[in-house]
């Protein structure tokens, strides 16, 4: 047997006999891509905010919002348009609408893909343009641009906004850097193997989190490590693709903790399920829970079949949701949901 000739023949025979399924809906691919982009941004930018009180059990929002954790979904408004909700004040923190970043209500030039505000600091990610994988992070303080960080530095800010971690790369060198944003001081610097930074190999590592105490987490397929400046790096078991947020259901994706850690919120469907692989699931609700207390879980639904693509804590009581009127991305809105008042409204935007 001529092995190589036989290989060619057999692979061709097998390939020709494959009955490929119909191509996937492009809309579904785009939604998955956008959710991937959102999740990637989300992992880099942990949301902030606090919640005044733990809320127990299921609840139903008044007016246009209505949904419990156990009853089947009952749309109280047939419109998919979030503008059927009352209109409230403009967002009180920097936000992204479309691809524009607004800081103190002023649009910032460029294409922006993620923003986090905490402790008076705002970390925003700017894309190199459509399809570009290059990102630049910009640090704002009190509404003013403070610093443009190196491209692809993968910066992450702690939940309370006091620490910043990033990877600084120079020819033949890569350093993991942790800074204290309260006094703009470098807390520590740890050399990394430059071959593991920004490569396409399975050895590639990425920053995954920085804690309020400055402990930074990074890893990839092969290793996951943690390091606190002044200490020694340690191997950790966590998968780098899993956010280090514990105490929530297995299926919960991108749980955003309030700054005091007393409550987490994540996007779900109206049944409180969060399964990004189950297209065309509508993520038209936000589910909230006290960590490790599943009995406190509740789900707030927006008008049925709207499409939620982003969530962050705006204040101690409010979450801001990025909402499209449908999965085709028709008109984007920012919706503010008060966990305390159990009501939602459209935030006024330009």
């Amino acid at each position: 047997m001529n092995l190589e000739q036989t290989l060619s023949q057999e692979l061709s025979v097998v390939a020709a006999a494959i009955d490929a399924p119909p191509p996937p809906a492009v809309g579904a691919l785009v939604r998955k891509a956008e959710r991937t982009r959102t999740r990637t941004s989300a992992k880099r930018l942990a949301a902030t905010g606090t919640v005044a009180a733990a809320v127990v059990g299921a609840l139903v929002l008044g007016h246009q919002l209505g949904r419990t954790t156990s009853a089947p979904p009952t749309p109280t408004n047939p419109s998919h348009n979030p503008t059927s909700l009352p209109t409230g004040a403009a967002p009180r923190v920097p936000y992204i609408l479309g691809e524009t970043l607004y800081v103190d209500g002023e649009p910032q030039p460029g294409m922006w893909i993620g923003v986090q505000t905490a402790g008076g600091n705002t970390l925003a990610l700017q894309s190199g343009g459509p399809g570009s994988e290059t990102t630049t992070a910009v640090l704002f303080r009190s509404g003013a641009m403070l610093e443009r960080l190196p491209a692809d530095a993968e910066p992450m800010m702690s939940r309370d906004g006091t620490k910043l971690a990033m990877i600084e790369v120079s020819p033949g060198k890569a350093d993991l850097v942790v800074r204290d944003l309260t006094d703009d001081r470098e807390l520590g610097r740890l050399p990394l193997d430059p071959a593991t930074v920004r490569s396409d190999s399975e050895a590639t590592v990425h920053l995954t989190a920085v804690d309020d105490d400055g402990t930074v987490h990074w890893g990839g397929v092969l290793v996951n490590r943690a390091w606190k400046p002044g200490g020694t790096p340690v191997d950790v078991a966590e998968n780098a693709s899993t956010p280090p947020v514990k105490g929530f259901p297995r299926g919960a994706v991108d749980v955003r903790l309030s700054p005091d850690g007393r409550l987490g919120a994540w996007l779900t469907d109206r049944d409180g399920r969060s399964d990004p692989r189950a297209d065309p699931t509508y993520l038209d609700a936000v589910t909230v829970q006290v960590p490790n207390q599943p009995g406190t879980r509740f789900t707030l639904a927006l008008p049925e079949k709207t499409d939620l693509r982003g969530i962050s804590w705006e204040t101690t009581t409010d979450v801001l949701l990025t909402v499209f009127e449908d999965q085709q991305g028709t008109r984007e809105h920012l919706v503010r949901c008060s966990v305390k008042e159990r009501e939602c409204e459209v935030a006024r935007t330009p």
């Binding site: 092995l3 190589e4 060619s8 097998v14 490929a20 492009v26 399809g131 570009s132």
Partner: protein
């Protein structure tokens, strides 16, 4: 939202949507040869297309968009191979899912049942070399490794297949 860029030269597709329609079957077939089962093939091909969307401006601007997407596909295949899945495949002493062609076709496939037992990188090299008909340099570009690594993986794969065929033939004689 259609992404309008210049025409993709090796497919004629002008948009992401057109590219998906034009190349889905070819991508799926390569994904099937890599994964050796339909469920994983569909997951892999879709995952590659999702990443293609995220890099569409680069794909459309590439000299060979197909080569760019092939690199995405093979990297996705290699990076998503978790130890559990590899272990499971090695532990299950069964030929890969066939579900294709006639029984006569199946009987003619002496090597295909052994391909899934190859380590993922060797399998990728075999598929790119003997199905996609790529050169060592093109395979190296697709896998992000050196031509020498391609050569050593190909040699190891062929050695392994020869040994398996020898064992099978010995057992059946």
């Amino acid at each position: 939202m259609p992404l309008r860029t210049r025409a993709v030269p090796d497919t004629g597709a002008a948009t992401y949507e057109e590219y998906v329609g034009a190349r889905w079957t070819a991508l799926y077939r390569t994904a099937y040869l890599l994964t050796t089962n339909h469920a994983d093939a569909e997951d892999l091909a879709q995952a590659a297309l999702v990443k293609t969307y995220l890099s569409w401006s680069k794909v459309a601007a590439a000299a060979s968009p197909d080569a760019y997407v092939r690199r995405i596909l093979t990297n996705e295949f290699l990076s998503s191979r978790r130890p559990l899945r590899v272990t499971r495949e090695q532990l299950v002493d069964q030929p890969p899912e066939v579900g294709i062609g006639t029984p006569e076709t199946h009987e003619r496939l002496a090597l295909w049942p052994h391909i899934s037992a190859l380590p993922p990188k060797q399998r990728a090299v075999i598929v790119l070399r003997y199905y996609e008909d790529l050169s060592e340099q093109q395979i190296a570009d697709a896998l992000g490794c050196s031509p020498g690594t391609v050569k050593s993986n190909a040699s190891a794969a062929l050695r392994s297949l020869r040994a398996r065929i020898g064992t099978t033939e010995g057992a059946s004689s």
